[in-house]
Symmetry: C2
Subunit: 249 residues, 2 copies
């Protein structure tokens, strides 16, 4: 082990921050770290929007189920899949880039690029003693988010990332056992062994919640996930992304 | 700065590895690091497939434009967006999870989850003195990749990640200037300033290539990207992903 791996393994999402803004230097170090991530064929298909305007933070928090840490944090970043500048490149170089830009393949490229950058940002922030939390809740209403942040076509805000000085440290939830996430040479899709693995993981998760809540909460993982998936949330997404000119063909 | 940020900023893709396999302990540390990343609503919608079988590695290299580092490396991982176990959860909990699983929203969730995990894996590997390279080339033919790795419906192999002891260290390509990637409070979509930023970045990239190749290569960024986007590559992706039961509604 080493300091880097210790930092990575110590991660837990932080949802309570001290009232202390990040410095310009901290913000730039985080963004430079994000930019150091790999990018598919040097395409750099993402953008990062920092939000410091109080009103905009409140509007974004409203979109994200009123989570107050979207307002109260050291800094709020929004990571976007971004092919806007690539459309301009098409004009500059007189090349028809639209079929490519509008493809599902490039939507995946841009989404992956943005996520790799964001995870670098997260690890960099955590190494500085800061805490982080991803805010998928902004996807509740991306039409609104696009208006708030002024994003044009070919830009999809994917998630927020709040960063700040932790006021409260949460526990670390037990992950799916390594043997279940990690296959070797062939994916194990055998139904019965998958059910068994899920059942044994259920026991681990249930024990975690029971201990953490003095017996008040006893969810299993499968019950928790089933409840979440039963709600058909954000079903507008396909239409929204296509309307913004991505994932169309 | 600190060791973690130094590791992140020192990243360059490695494409030449020593003939030295990773140990089981190294592989497990990398996978555990991947698993420590944030995951949307605890959904853990990804899987990792390690490939050690020589024939499978060769088949995957063939898909990925015959890049020989897909065969010759310390270890080859394939990261997959994975909602297969979530479909089983629906059966176990008698809940109709299909509309949710088949949505564009959950396809994004699974893709982001996998990418966050992969970037943690990359940073962990690099902190151990190993080099890494993402292999987007496996997306040239995911039908073939699915056959080689036996992935079922609701699983999309997104990219490979080769890891190993570097035999050759490449230069670090200059990224888009921070001020262009990072916006504050509002996305700058003003056309003329975007063109100017691209032109000034072109000079940086061209200088980099000229210096690195003793004047033999003089691409600008926009010409390189336009050439890449002009090719309509992997246009089968939309159909493939839908056929696998994701990104459908």
């Amino acid at each position: 082990m080493n300091t880097v791996i210790d930092t990575i393994l110590a991660h837990r999402s932080v949802r309570n921050f001290e009232d202390r803004a990040l410095t310009r230097e901290q913000i730039e170090t985080i963004v430079r770290s994000a930019q150091a991530a790999s990018t598919s064929s040097f395409v750099q298909a993402y953008s990062i929007i920092g939000v410091t305007d109080q009103k905009k933070k409140e509007q974004l928090a409203e979109v994200a189920f009123n989570q107050d840490y979207v307002v109260n944090n050291g800094h709020l970043f929004v990571f976007c899949a971004d092919l806007y500048r690539h459309e301009i490149i098409g004009e500059m170089e007189s090349v028809d880039v639209l079929p490519s830009i509008e493809s599902t393949e490039k939507f995946m490229v841009a989404t992956i690029d943005a996520a790799l950058a964001a995870q670098n940002a997260s690890i960099a922030a955590e190494s500085m003693g800061l805490g982080i939390c991803y805010i998928g809740g902004i996807r509740n209403d991306l039409t609104k988010v696009s208006e708030i942040l002024g994003t044009p076509n070919r830009v999809i805000p994917l998630f927020g990332l709040v960063v700040g000085y932790p006021a409260k440290i949460n526990d670390k939830k037990p992950r799916i056992p390594l043997e279940h996430i990690y296959h070797e040479n062939e994916y194990n899709s055998e139904h019965e062994s998958n059910v068994q693995e899920l059942q044994s993981y259920n026991e681990v998760v249930q024990k975690y919640y029971l201990e953490r809540t003095n017996g008040k909460r006893s969810d299993t993982w499968t019950s928790q996930i089933a409840k979440m998936l039963e709600k058909q949330s954000r079903m507008y997404m396909k239409g929204f992304v296509e309307e913004k000119g991505m994932n169309k063909r």
